[in-house]
Symmetry: C2
């Protein structure tokens, strides 16, 4: 393995704001490429998000919700945007309890990842907990959810039939299976 | 497991185009919520993309490239946008050869996933191949890449230190480890 990053960098020459919305904003950056030419990069700015692989009595907690970008409902692990200045760990506990009614007694971060590095700066911080107690179900006012709990085999079937079809949830199912097989979630090398 | 999707659907009332760029476009949809109220959804439209877990002599092929959204370079599996009307399978073969110089003699789809269903319709079609021959290295004119090959253990180290930090690449590493452990990539139940 060898890796050198010289002569790959782009230099930002200008930033044109296009749109500022409730969730995202959009800007077009003009950049100088390594060969000296210029190009543009369309960049979506996002506050970041958290997601939680929550396992209760051998079943993972999933949330069914409508996704306008898909034009249909989808089953996902509990997740939500970071509020301004919010610590990701606090956000993970908050979103899990709001969306499922379960409060984690302990929880830890697996890792953080970019969802679409080609056009967006969104980072999702992925957490895992197997230690839950009853809490307060309190979805946001414009959030309409159904909660279900599935086994690992059922989760794979839901991936196969497309009811689970987003990156963070598939990644969580893979991590859960790696945990079954190795006793580790894969990326926690502690 | 039970799942019912009634009373979760949102109905699109209006669509306001905001921006049309080289890669993405942006629109704001006004929707009627299940409770009869209205809200808005900011939606990024994307042509879709392909990505390839390519394994050669026990090492996965990675591409180091600058990501303006991150402000740094990152190691990712070979990937790229679908061209207009292009079949994802053809795109996967094309992108792999252009970015690595290796042509797949055989290749198959693992699954397809949404990267950010909360605000974008981008779908990535993820392929896998272990059967490569020499082809023609030909990155796009504004693409500046370094190619490296890593073992599974090295890939996990790169996740741990953040040099691999995007969803599709972490998902590919997990799939590769599941293949080592079970003989299956996880989601191909054939």
């Amino acid at each position: 393995m060898s890796s050198s990053s010289n002569k790959l960098e782009e230099v930002t020459i200008a930033t044109q704001p296009i749109f500022t919305g409730k969730v995202i904003s959009l800007q077009v950056d003009t950049v100088q490429l390594p060969n000296g030419k210029t190009s543009t990069r369309e960049i979506v700015k996002h506050p970041g998000a958290v997601a939680v692989l929550a396992i209760k009595d051998g079943r993972m907690l999933l949330v069914d919700q409508y996704r306008q970008a898909m034009g249909r409902t989808e089953l996902e692990i509990p997740a939500g945007k970071l509020e301004a200045g919010e610590d990701p760990l606090d956000a993970a506990k908050r979103e899990l309890e709001e969306e499922t009614g379960y409060r984690p007694r302990s929880i830890r971060r697996l890792h953080s990842f970019y969802t679409s590095p080609g056009f967006a700066d969104e980072i999702i911080h992925l957490y895992v907990t197997e230690d839950l107690e009853e809490g307060q179900y309190a979805p946001d006012e414009d959030e309409f959810l159904h909660n279900i709990e599935v086994t690992l085999d059922e989760a794979w079937d839901l991936i196969a039939n497309g009811r689970i079809s987003d990156a963070k949830t598939i990644m969580a199912v893979q991590a859960w299976q790696l945990y079954h097989l190795t006793g580790k979630f894969g990326y926690d090398n502690e």
